[in-house]
Symmetry: C2
């Protein structure tokens, strides 16, 4: 695998800038480019604001904001880089053009990853000359603090590029989900987007306010999700019977109009997939152990959030 010392960040808005902050904190040289006239100023402000958090987490040896260089052209930013992270506007024609331009300027076998929120690489790589090195590397905001990166290639992507991107992200402290097939919105955004769209419907219909929606999450299920995802959460809602009891008990609710999204039919096959998936994820942890872990986590999360808010108000 190519040794990576310099990362090019193409597009330096909230996501591209967040990536730049992350790579700088991990000790890399960062080459940035963004066509907006005030891009450099905004980028440096974003990095300055992120730096206290990054310092608290712990900077890599030699990490410095001085390792950032902002270039006047895309080609100049990309040509000396060992890895390229593209975070341009979320419009398909623009993505396709930008990725083709990056591909034309990048060194041989340099992996080019796109931060796209949901486009498939197959549709984005169409105009590139060497599409085999183009992958999706989808982060969450802020990329310097949220570990998740979803990695997936397109039809023309070569397996080595997917493997290299995943390995690189892991090396810089990310939690990587490598997907073996393209899916619009990937995994996390499909889940998050379903929730978001329901929220928009509710506001549009006067069913709830923005603040009620946020409170419903921060004081409710949002407190469980950092520790246990939606599946394991419901595994515990079933008591000692776990996911099996939960689906048998609450299964009929899936036909209730509790959201505008219609549920799939709860076939025996789906039920069994959920049950065995939870068993696999739980591993050797019993329901009692998972409950204890969840309870410790919720208490700690509530305290952590309260302290973080409190520090801000002083």
């Amino acid at each position: 695998m190519r040794e990576i010392r310099t990362v090019a960040c193409v597009g330096a808005g909230v996501i591209g800038g967040g990536w730049a902050a992350h790579f700088l904190a991990r000790g890399f040289r960062v080459h940035a480019w963004d066509p907006a006239p005030d891009a450099e100023e905004k980028l440096r402000t974003l990095i300055d604001r992120a730096w206290p958090a990054l310092t608290e987490i712990g900077l890599a040896e030699g990490a410095s904001r001085d390792a950032l260089t902002v270039f006047g052209t895309l080609a100049a930013a990309v040509e000396g880089a060992d890895f390229v992270q593209e975070s341009g506007p979320e419009k398909l024609p623009a993505k396709r053009r930008l990725l083709a331009d990056i591909d034309a300027a990048a060194g041989q076998n340099v992996v080019v990853a796109s931060s796209t929120s949901g486009y498939g690489m197959t549709e984005m790589q169409a105009d590139a000359r060497t599409p085999g090195r183009l992958v999706v590397g989808h982060p969450f905001n802020p990329p310097y603090l949220i570990p998740l990166v979803e990695v997936v290639g397109g039809e023309l992507t070569e397996p080595w590029a997917v493997a290299e991107a995943a390995a690189f992200y892991r090396r810089v402290g990310k939690s990587v989900i490598t997907m073996d097939r393209e899916l619009p919105g990937f995994i996390a955004n499909r889940l998050q987007e379903a929730l978001w769209r329901e929220a928009l419907h509710m506001v549009a219909n006067g069913e709830a306010t923005v603040e009620q929606i946020d409170t419903a999450i921060t004081e409710g299920p949002g407190l469980r999700w950092p520790a246990q995802g939606p599946c394991l959460t419901f595994h515990l809602a079933g008591g000692e019977g776990g996911m099996a009891h939960m689906l048998d008990h609450f299964g009929p609710s899936l036909r209730s109009p509790w959201t505008r999204l219609t549920a799939p039919e709860l076939t025996g096959e789906l039920r069994d997939a959920m049950v065995s998936g939870c068993a696999e994820e739980a591993g050797e942890r019993s329901i009692a152990e998972l409950v204890a872990e969840r309870d410790r986590a919720i208490i700690a999360v509530r305290r952590a959030v309260a302290q973080a808010r409190d520090r801000g108000s002083r």
Copy 2:
């Protein structure tokens, strides 16, 4: 308002038992009833498992597990109670029957709250003799740790009952959202259920595994939601432009097939409602302050969860 010293918990499974643990920890006497033959043993086990967490949070003066009495009949459990929390099976005919039975046994003007996950009180109170005191008081699992309770009445519910339930829940440390209209699934469950249904579709179609879904949330957006709900989260995704920039920038993505839930049309009215809602929720906090608050919270949440997991594995 009636002085509340004794709470009846009707139904003592995961939710009813969790409520019992909460009320005991807050220093109340709890009268429980559940028709299952092993209900008392399971209930006492659940409370014993919850007690370390409740002790760590801090018990109310005089709080004791000995303040729990399990009764052999519903009427005996309910008749001496000052507040009734119903947590029976999530089936409409059963709910309707159970609430009518509770109503027949409960003292005058005692509020009866249902833990239903999503039925409307209007459809549940149909068989009760004095339906005016029946309200929904919907908690989240575990009720002894997650603060949110959604309170809403039915068509026949009298306003004093809604007000009393909300006041009582606040007094016992809950975060209450009082809804002024019935909505199947209320607010939090509509949001959570949309996410859950998308997850079930993905498993049913082999698009993601249970573990990938959980990881996508715990390592991704789930880390933001305890501190800032979905609206404020996206307010910050817009950079200095906030929700307005976010909707103008990512608005077209709402038409992308990123989830099976179709988005509402992003009318000017909806856009403005989201923008002003975020402005109201943010209050005097600037984007920079919100970003700093979020960053502190994410770091603290990640540490808290890592420690909670670590303590479990020793």
